[in-house]
Amino acid sequence: MSAVTQVAPVGARLRLPKVPPLTALAGVFLVVVAACALFPGFAPQDPAAINAAESLQGPSGAHPLGTDQLGRDTLSRLVAGARTSLLGPLVLGLGVTAISTVLAVAAGWFGGRTDAVISRIIDFFYSVPALLVAIVVAGVTGGGFGITLVVLIIFGLPMHVRNLRAAVMERAHLPFMEAAVTLGLPTWRVVLTHLVPTIVPNVVAVFFVTFTYGVVELSSLSFLGLGVPPGAPDWGRMVADNRAAVFTDVWAVAAPAVAIVLLAVSANLIGEHVQRTHEQSRKER
């Protein structure tokens, strides 16, 4: 049988994915932010050093991005703030991604009653404005950042559980899943080694979407005074703290605001890239 001798392009697998320049830049930015978060020592000056004589200055040699109300160096605070600015969205992103994956797999794979229960709960949470709940909860219980984060995670779940569940259901009855069952693989192996890998691109996309959402939402909470403590070098907080000066000394507000937008845009671009390549490979099969 010579039918088989035609050689398929083996190199296809090794071809590096083509990354648009903007997405590559976004990746670089994320790496830089992550590096700052891991090594706050990068800060050129002490981010907490108050210097009344230099408050609200524009960019200069000593302070490339100017100073804030208390005369602290904005660049140093941006570097120091990378940690909290990254941490909140990261926790949110990981939390939502992990929980929604588990729920979606449970609902989509096992179906039946499990699915019904999960779907009903999700439907309920879907129809509630998250930030409003976060504010009410924080207001009524006097709770802090942690509670707010939990609320945001809970209310961030529904959309993603729905989408992932649909993806799981789409794949759960594909012949290769059923073949794995018929081969006699235990259920957990089928789920872990066959089902989950096929939805990895979706899961990654969920992470980036939630991360972006987290960046924007958490900075909004800081703006409403519900986020991290005042004076902490968190980007959202820096914007909120220096807003009084927004029309006169724009740097202290603009620098962290731009950092937030860049972070969100970067995550967005990368998430989109993941989704697009995934879509393409699906189209090409």
Partner: protein
């Protein structure tokens, strides 16, 4: 090819050197090469060829319905109008009124959320060019539906999902010809339908062709359908027309080796072949087509000269209409696929002794849908049992119950001595069942996990079967299904459909089962590839003593591969027995209808149109 000759104002459709290119960043690729088609009013032509040969692209190019990345060259004349040269808007007006199009899937073609009556009449205008009134629309819809054989006026108020596949395709045709076009291009209009429905739709098209003086372009991969319905046949291969002739000429005296090979690979309905003819290799993708004769690498008659220069479509000596694209057309003689005596169907069937699978009175109800309704089935070791029936008759459901993927609503299923329906099975019992029966599926594209290599897919089964020397056995398995051992490193994306089906069969074999349930494993494949797989399955049965439960809706395939057959209709077994008995002397009405519906190669659609 710059023929600036004004197209002669003729009725019907003609194309002149119509080519389609794929535009890509790295240059352009030829997909369809210089196609010349001629369809006179009232005439029907067929375009046949294997998957990927460019049939659909040609059809869409004719209507200017290609996606933006595909560009056309050449001319199309519809009713004497140079279709591709007039303005966009004029072309748009001509679509539907002069030239119409029907697609393969009758479900996706129709708007699911619009009543069919409204869809049929959407393009209609009254004498003043205004949209019709509500009442007029409805009357018109009923009339048009009656034309395509739908006499129930209530259908006009239904949504597509409330109709059967055949009805939907009729609605699609009614909508397409609502404005009385001259030409109808139908791209595989019956491929998604059952044989019985397919016959109805073909009869309908044939009738409309006569009554409406319609020029019909029928695209199909089924030679039988082409011969049964069409006056002339264009055989297409790798973007080229390789042979054109009247249907009966092509069927009896093909002059191109490719046509002959296709005919030979098509399994006959009336007897069993010792071995099906196959065509080596596969259709080259655009951009990978060899120079000279595209078929040369797969051709038994190829000479070095074949690949030297592009081959033109030439007239043959035997007929004025018969043209062929082969340099050796004059010298070689192709034997027509005459009837050869097949081997006797396994004479002494071992239908005694202990059956491997016993199915007793099983029912399966999905919500309010009875899929399987009290079926008894036995499968004995070493035999090949067929399950046939039209779509929705419960074949797949039954198969899934046999392998334990679906739990019956009631009744018992026993596999290798283990009763699947008896409460919760122990781990060992499941292991025994899995080791006894394995399954292969229809769709070659989703049958393998795209994220894993072929090797790891196969090793998974081997490991479960308790095999130690995994690498060695993987290679052995691949070889057994006719693939080189190096394929273990590949991913499914790098394999063709036929190769994937081979791997799927190898995966089933990895657990060394005694029974393999094959659910339409060849339905999605071209005849040539189908022949490969059928031959493979037969070899495996002979070598390994396998038992098959073989599901298909294709009676010719059933004849080739099964010893015994169960005919299912609406979830019930209506007839069973030796395959030859059942096919040659069907007793049940339904079976008779099924057999009669297979397009007969005589060029006549046999029976009168059913009322």
């Amino acid at each position: 090819m710059s023929q600036v000759t004004e197209a002669v104002p003729t009725a019907g459709l003609s194309t002149d050197a119509l080519s389609v290119w794929l535009r890509r960043a790295d240059g352009r690729r030829l997909i369809a090469e210089s196609i010349d088609l001629q369809v006179a009013p009232g005439e029907s032509i067929a375009i046949v060829g294997e998957s990927g040969s460019g049939k659909s692209v040609t059809a869409r190019a004719v209507l200017d319905l290609l996606p933006p990345e595909l560009v056309t060259e050449g001319d199309v004349s519809v009713g004497g109008v140079p279709f591709l040269r007039i303005g966009r808007a004029a072309r748009h007006r001509m679509r539907g009124s002069e030239i119409a199009f029907v697609m393969q899937d009758p479900f996706t073609m129709l708007n699911p959320v619009m009543k069919v009556g409204d869809q049929v009449t959407a393009a209609l205008r009254d004498a003043n060019g205004r949209p019709l009134s509500r009442a007029a629309r409805r009357a018109e819809a009923v009339a048009r539906l009656r034309e395509v054989g739908i006499t129930d006026p209530a259908v006009a108020d239904k949504y597509p999902f409330q109709l059967s596949g055949g009805m939907r395709q009729r609605v699609g045709i009614a909508a397409a010809i609502a404005e009385n076009p001259q030409v109808l291009v139908a791209d595989e209009p019956t491929t998604a339908l059952d044989v019985t429905t397919q016959r109805d739709v073909l009869l309908l098209l044939d009738r409309l062709r006569r009554t409406h003086e319609l020029g019909l372009v029928l695209i199909t991969h089924d030679l039988r359908v082409a011969f049964a319905t069409c006056d002339r046949v264009y055989v297409m291969y790798a973007g080229q027309i390789v042979e054109v002739a009247r249907s009966d000429v092509i069927r009896r005296a093909p002059r191109h080796p490719y046509t002959a090979a296709l005919l030979a690979a098509d399994p006959p309905l009336d007897h069993r072949m010792a071995r099906l003819r196959t065509i080596p290799g596969s259709v080259p993708a655009p951009g990978h087509r060899p120079g000279g004769c595209h078929f040369a690498p797969r051709c038994a008659f190829a000479l070095p000269a074949c690949s030297a220069a592009p081959v033109e479509l030439q007239l043959t000596d035997d007929d004025a209409d018969h043209r062929v694209r082969c340099v050796r057309a004059g010298e070689i003689t192709l034997e027509p696929p005459t009837a050869q005596p097949g081997p006797e169907p396994a004479a002494a069937l071992t239908t005694d002794g202990q059956p491997l699978v016993t199915v007793r009175d099983v029912r399966k109800v999905f919500r309010d849908k009875v899929a399987v309704d009290g079926v008894d089935i036995d499968v004995f070791a070493g035999e090949s049992v067929g399950l046939v029936g039209e779509s929705g008759s419960g074949k797949t459901t039954l198969a899934r119950m046999i392998v334990g993927l679906t739990r019956p609503t009631s009744g018992t299923v026993e596999v290798g001595g283990v009763e699947l329906t008896a409460g919760a099975l122990s781990k060992e019992q499941w292991a025994a069942v899995r080791g006894t029966v394995q399954m292969a599926f229809q769709d070659p594209y989703s049958t393998l996990n795209p994220t894993r290599t072929i090797g790891s897919t196969l090793r998974e089964g081997l490991r479960l079967a308790g095999v130690d020397d995994l690498e060695e056995r993987t290679a052995e398995l691949l070889e057994r299904v006719g693939l080189p051992a190096t394929y273990a490193q590949r991913r499914p994306g790098q394999l063709s459909g036929g190769e994937r089906q081979r791997v799927a069969i190898a995966r089933a074999l990895s657990r060394s089962p005694r029974i393999v349930v094959c659910d339409e494993v060849v339905s999605a494949l071209d005849v040539s590839v189908q022949a490969h797989i059928l031959n493979l399955l037969r070899d495996l049965q002979a070598d390994l003593g396998l038992t098959y439960v073989f599901i298909t809706h294709d009676l010719a395939v059933v004849r080739q591969i099964t010893d015994r057959v169960y005919v299912l209709n609406h979830g019930k077994v209506v007839e069973s027995g030796l395959t030859s008995e059942v096919l040659d002397r069907p007793r049940h009405d339904y079976t008779r209808r099924l057999v009669a519906s297979v397009p007969q190669a005589d060029g006549v659609l046999g029976l009168p149109e059913p009322r």
